[in-house]
Symmetry: C2
Subunit: 142 residues, 2 copies
DNA sequence: TTATACATTATAATTATTCTAAACTATTGA
DNA sequence: TCAATAGTTTAGAATAATTATAATGTATAA
């Protein structure tokens, strides 16, 4: 889902009815220069800051999952306690800052292409992603 | 924590009192040939199968976290809905079978060493891990 | 426009995990 | 050996993230 576009049409193309809640959420997610890494809670907070009318938490969940299923959002696993989503759906890796709990994109070009020599037999590879955990030099981390 | 050893001494060395619950959990986790990938729930189920007396769920959490803090278990992020732990604490990668939700070790030698060309300034890299998501060839996965 | 299928909502339910406070046990040292 | 104490276990309550429910509302097709 590209930025600065008509989300009513984009949603319809994706087979999702363009309700005002969905349009608003798309504007928040995709009308931006940089990739947005967020938890549902981050997004819900942003909605209530930006918006006069409120969107129910259930709708935020429903909408994010609907958009994700259509392939316009990617879920990323870092911790086990929260779901992170990423508006950048292209193949790319991540830095995870253990000090700030922030997720930062790591471009494909920053890491040479990864070759899995032996795959599990009978299975196909859906994705290969690298997570680089970083922390401040002067702190202790496990 | 090596296998086929006296866990009473091992626990004591790690600064953990060797209670019978901890010893039993160590036996289940470390008296095995192959790496064990598990969620707390998997482990709790295994305990209640193997054991006459039961161990409280809180104790399973406490013990796993205590052992993990001492560096004998590694936590792995895949989904956001559950915590997976790994008895293999050496640097290595993983396959994640999206059909069975199973985690499989991927040896370092199966992937050429990964060079992060540009790191975040002022941060040091704590770990670089690859997660390869696989699924049956004849099924749809996003 | 109206029927219908899909969405939204508040709230309840669920699940994984952590907290609490009382009962218990390993260890220390007299 | 035996109490003191510091650390541990436990059941059950509390919390947090997420999902289900069922009633109300809305977009769309006929």
């Amino acid at each position: 889902m590209t930025k600065n576009c008509n989300f009513i049409d984009k949603l319809r193309e994706a087979g999702l009815r363009p309700t005002k809640q969905r349009v608003k959420i798309c504007e928040i997610l995709f009308n931006r220069e940089k990739t947005f890494h967020f938890t549902i809670n981050d997004l819900a907070k942003k909605i209530s800051e930006d918006l006069n009318e409120k969107i129910s938490l259930a709708t935020v969940y429903n909408t994010v999952h609907a958009i994700q299923k259509k392939g316009y959002l990617k879920e990323i696993a870092i911790n086990s306690d929260k779901s992170y989503f990423d508006t950048n759906t292209t193949a790319h890796h991540h830095f995870y800052d253990e000090d700030t709990h922030e997720l930062i994109d790591c471009d494909q070009s920053n890491i040479d292409s990864i070759n899995v020599k032996n795959n599990i037999t009978g299975k196909k590879i859906n994705s290969v992603e690298v997570l680089i955990k970083v922390a401040s030099d002067n702190q202790n981390h496990n």
